[in-house]
């Protein structure tokens, strides 16, 4: 691919990067592992999105979503990492105001990564609270019920606290 002769080096690099992205369907450096992409996405996109607003925030959230989707594609057998990425993607969708999509993703954490207790708990709780706060209490109740039934006897006090609170909303 030839660049226009008046292009700055930085522009050329960006164009090359875009070309590679289109070619390979991803935006991460080829050497990056799923874990590295996840860490970078958390650090450089998702966390930062909470500190800005407006267009910048939307842009960072979109980048975070892309990052988590890449992790899900590349994560392979790293189920805990994929569970984290899927839940985090749900968080991004919730922040983008896409409530139903967020709830669907959180729900999938429970079905696809059922053994990942901590991720499942966070996902169900996020779904339940978001639906409850949105006034959709009938939709929230099944999540609270699942939390209570699964985590009421968990050895972790924090899990039991969540289960106990969930019971009050069942």
């Amino acid at each position: 691919m030839r660049s226009p002769p008046n292009m700055e080096p930085m522009q050329r690099a960006r164009l090359a990067s875009l070309f590679l992205s289109l070619l390979f369907g991803c935006t991460h450096a080829p050497h990056e592992t799923a874990r590295q992409i996840f860490d970078r996405t958390v650090r450089e996109d998702h966390l930062l999105s909470a500190e800005v607003s407006g267009v910048e925030r939307e842009k960072l959230l979109a980048q975070a979503a892309t990052g988590y989707e890449q992790v899900l594609r590349l994560g392979g057998n790293d189920r805990p990492l994929c569970a984290s990425a899927l839940r985090s993607l749900g968080n991004v969708r919730a922040e983008q105001g896409r409530l139903d999509e967020a709830v669907k993703l959180w729900s999938e954490v429970g079905s696809q990564y059922a053994t990942c207790d901590w991720e499942v708990l966070q996902s169900w709780k996020s779904a339940a609270d978001l639906l409850w706060d949105a006034g959709r209490r009938d939709d929230a109740t099944p999540f609270y019920r699942q939390i209570f039934e699964r985590f009421r006897s968990a050895p972790s006090p924090i899990m039991r606290t969540v289960a106990c609170a969930a019971q009050r909303r069942v």
Binding site: R43, L47, P80, A83, A94, D117, W118, S126, L130, I158
Partner: protein, 440 residues
């Protein structure tokens, strides 16, 4: 990696505060105190931080983030230390606007200051012990200084922390380690928090001890020490005072200093073990008689030096590693070869005698006599003791004018006191019977 924001913050609606804000929440005042109990054998550290929070009456929100750290979030616990019966955690939620953050919803029946404690496990903090031994010129006395190095790669800075180090592997810690490995969200099984109360009950005494350490540190400018305490199953060292250990840093802290303790230095030669080199050893005992014995000594590296002049110019003797040394145990430090002490065995004569044959003329028994001379030389400026060990096999017997001691069925040792610049020779003849000549 420094965490993106402080681990704990209160939602603005809940509290008044003066600290800086980097998010849409208001940060808490800094930790009032933080205590790290490092279980080295399990890559596990129990963190207990206390803060004074100003609660309002009713609902309060408190956020805790473990992003970019090795904190095990399933182990996180919150409790009020004051007004405990009036402060209750109602719920925990996970705000989607940030990742790896939880939010406690806390109901308080009091308005005002409450001291709270947050406890959790983290990995990534470790410690190692090391020692510096400084032997006197004659290698009969020694100063021994111990230190511990704490390494923090947990992702979190710990400022002004009280540091406690656990020596020894006990079943409780093994259980906790197993739980931690299972419970870490990375591995997604069961959480660790089960063990927190168990650990608390185990180290209850140590808390009071830590307070003493703090008071002692405030009271004087003397060099700090590490205070040690025997807690039956394991040994707890509390580093006197407080230290800041930022993430990514390691810090060396003095542990103990013992002066003028008796030490035995000796030199060993055993070709089968060390080839033709003479190896130097320092030996001492970890007991009260020898000015130690206050605590077991954790395994660690030792660097040994020897003063060589009256004005305390000293030379490097060697370095080695010692294993965990319980109280009352003898320590033998092997410090490498010393080229100023030589030992050279030479075969002076070899003879095959007493040969027996069977009816077909085949050899059935024979005896070999070897005459050896061992030349030992001390080029040092001090008197030493050289332990020369020789190994034999089969049906052997030894004839010599030099006093020796049998170590086991196939080994003898000659103890040679060598004065400075002295050379000695010892001779022995070993007779070994083979075949039908052998009687054992």
């Amino acid at each position: 990696m420094k965490r993106a924001f402080l681990p704990i913050c209160l939602a603005a609606l809940a509290l008044q505060t003066t600290a800086f804000a980097r998010l849409s929440v208001v940060t808490l005042p800094g930790r009032d105190s933080v205590q790290l109990t490092i279980y080295n054998s399990a890559d596990l550290t129990l963190v207990r931080e206390t803060r004074y929070l100003t609660f309002r009456k009713g609902l309060n929100k408190l956020e805790f983030s473990w992003a970019n750290t090795l904190i095990d979030p399933t182990s996180v616990e919150f409790r009020a230390l004051t007004h405990a019966d009036k402060v209750e955690v109602l719920d925990v939620s996970f705000p989607p606007r940030v990742t790896n953050t939880l939010e406690w919803r806390i109901n308080s029946e009091v308005a005002g200051e409450v001291q709270v404690e947050i406890r959790y496990f983290t990995s990534g903090i470790s410690w190692s012990a090391d020692y510096v031994a400084e032997a006197s010129r004659d290698e009969k006395r020694m100063d021994l200084a111990g230190a511990v190095r704490v390494n923090n790669n947990s992702g979190e800075d710990y400022d002004n922390a009280e540091i406690r180090l656990v020596v020894g592997v006990i079943k409780l810690v093994q259980d906790i380690a197993d739980l931690a490995r299972q419970g870490r969200p990375e591995s997604q099984n069961m959480p660790t928090t089960l063990a927190l109360d168990e650990m608390e009950s185990k180290d209850g005494a140590a808390r009071a001890f830590g307070g003493m350490a703090k008071a002692a540190q405030m009271a004087s400018e003397r060099p700090r020490e590490i205070i040690k305490e025997n807690l039956s199953e394991y040994f707890l060292y509390t580093v006197e005072g407080r230290d800041t250990i930022p993430n990514g840093w390691s810090k060396r802290l003095p542990s103990f200093q013992a002066s003028d303790l008796p030490v035995a230095s000796y030199y060993k030669f055993e070709r089968e073990q060390w080839g033709d080199q003479v190896v130097r050893f320092y030996r001492f005992k970890n007991d009260k008689e020898n000015k130690l014995g206050n605590e077991p000594l954790p395994d660690g590296d030792v660097k040994a030096f020897r003063f060589v002049t009256a004005d305390k110019l000293y030379s490097f003797v060697g370095r080695t590693a010692v294993k965990y040394i319980p109280i009352g145990e003898q320590v033998e430090m092997q410090l490498g070869n010393d080229q100023e002490v030589l030992c050279k065995p030479t075969l002076m004569n070899w003879e095959k005698t007493d040969i027996h044959f069977d009816n077909n003329g085949a050899v059935t028994g024979w005896t070999i006599k070897e005459a050896w001379q061992v030349e030992a030389q001390n080029s040092k400026d001090i008197d030493i003791t050289l332990d020369v060990r020789r190994n034999f096999s089969g049906d052997w017997s030894l004839a010599t004018d030099t006093k020796y001691e049998k170590v086991d069925a196939s080994k003898v040792k000659f103890i040679l006191p060598l004065k400075s610049r002295e050379q000695q020779k010892l001779a022995y003849e070993v007779t070994t019977k083979y075949g039908t000549n052998a009687t054992r």
